[in-house]
Amino acid sequence: MDELEKMLLMQIADLHRVPDGAYNLRKNGESEGRRSTPHIRIEPRQDGHSGVDIFISSQTRGESVHIPVVITQSDYRETVYNDFYVEEGADVLIIAGCGIHNCGTQTAEHSGVHTFHVGKNARVKYVEKHYASGDGNGEKVMNPQTDIVLEEGARLEMETTQIKGVDSTVRTTNAALAAGAELVIREKIYTHGKQYAKTNFSVSLNGDGAGADVVSRSVAAGTSLQQLDLHIDGNTRCHGHSECDAIIMDDARVTAVPALAANCVDAELIHEAAIGKIAGDQLLKLMTLGLTEQEAEEQIIKGFLS
């Protein structure tokens, strides 16, 4: 691996060496390394799509799987399918992420389709980071799609972050929850320049006592545009909460469209949204501590997205 690839791996997965446990590293469309463990099996797909199938056995407790993707070519596009089969009662940490460095003039694009089949009472923490760099004019495009099926009593916590450099992204997450299942999503997005980020969350609460908590925090600077579509269907006795909290700066624009559908009298659904520039009194407070206005802005954004 060269320095550039190492840098990308650091950004998306905090990795500076081959990770412990199971992993699959994908670089410019090729598998660069893969390891299965007694509890976690990673295998190439059988259906002709590129990507892997990951089988997480019910004996898994506190183990991790890393599946980073690195792209350093210009004029490169790929769609990768990864399927996770998490067996009943497993407890696992999954770290995915995509780093693109494009210094060419052509587009580099990664579309990752991740499907989670989470068995009864299993617990998954899923961390996903997207980062791009490169001083060429080539666009860096990422379109992650996440499909989640949670069986009875399963819990999935998803942390998804787009830090920097991605020119265009459409991020789609669909989830269906059975009885007693729980879904927690924390999204963080920072866009700048002319970037475009679209997020679609669609959650169906189908089983008795299912619960979802979806929070998106974002900062839009420059002339960037962010759109957020948040959809929760409560089809039974359930509770759903969604929240959109956005800071806009410069000439950026943010649109948030929440949709709550209560299809059962015992569905409790809440949405909160706030979009606005950094509060003046926050800037002033930090300035009374000796920070310049710009330093104050940076601290507020850093905290907000931390």
Partner: protein
């Protein structure tokens, strides 16, 4: 150290002009100066003019002999002015440790940050990693606000109603916080307060009512008048 000369402040609301401060002159050289007076009298407005958050419509502000009227909030902070807000600001994602570090102007250890929290009576371990957000109670937030000013340790510290929301047991501690601050900075402390116990430690008391200084002088002269029910008289000058 701090000198306000003929300060007036006129706010405009719905096209109507409202004179909030009217020709206020004041000089702060003593250890403890307390400003008191009725609600809406103009005390916080004056504090904001000192910190640079508001610009006076008329008049000049001097700090250590320098005319700072046209300096920004940041420049004044760097020259040695601190201001604890009457209504502390909340921040999503910024922790108590972050805020105290920013206030002290350098990277500080957890131990140092904790020391400031202990001074304001917060059990440091429970708070140091909390976000300064809506989950903090009013009194907790107020104490953290005071801790940021302690961490700065500047020549002039302005506290705007520091006692508001602080429970009775802590009151004596609050007073000792001011005494410690003074012994550390050897500067001046300007406290806006409605509390007799705080006025009791002031060297000078200034009464502001209706946007004017209606009375000013050593505590021994001003305080008895305020307490003996001749409040109205004192307020009206």
């Amino acid at each position: 150290m701090l000198e306000l000369k003929n300060i007036s402040y006129v706010a405009e609301e719905d096209g109507e002009k409202k004179r909030i401060l009217d020709d206020v002159s004041l000089s702060v050289g003593d250890r403890f100066v307390a400003i008191t007076g009725p609600n809406g009298g103009g005390k916080s407005t004056l504090a904001k003019i000192v910190a640079g958050i508001l610009r006076p419509t008329q008049g000049r502000v001097y700090f250590d002999g320098e005319d700072i009227t046209d300096l920004s909030v940041t420049e004044r902070a760097r020259r040695g002015i601190s201001y604890a807000f009457q209504q502390p600001v909340r921040f999503k994602g910024i922790t108590v440790k972050d805020l105290i570090s920013l206030a002290s102007g350098k990277r500080i250890s957890v131990g140092e940050a904790c020391a400031y929290l202990s001074e304001v009576g917060l059990c440091a371990r429970d708070y140091i990693d909390r976000e300064v957000n809506a989950s903090l109670s009013g009194g907790e937030l107020k104490r953290i606000e005071i801790a940021t000013v302690l961490a700065r340790g500047t020549r002039l510290s302005v506290f705007d109603e520091p006692e508001a929301g602080i429970d009775l047991w802590s009151f004596q501690n609050l007073i000792s916080v001011f005494e410690k601050t003074y012994s550390k900075t050897q500067g001046s402390i300007l406290i806006i307060s409605h509390q007799e116990r705080i006025l009791n430690i002031a060297d000078t008391i200034v009464v502001i009512a209706g946007g004017k200084v209606t009375k000013t002088g050593p505590r021994e002269e001003v305080l008895p008048g305020l307490l003996s029910g001749r409040v109205c008289a004192a307020l009206q000058g």
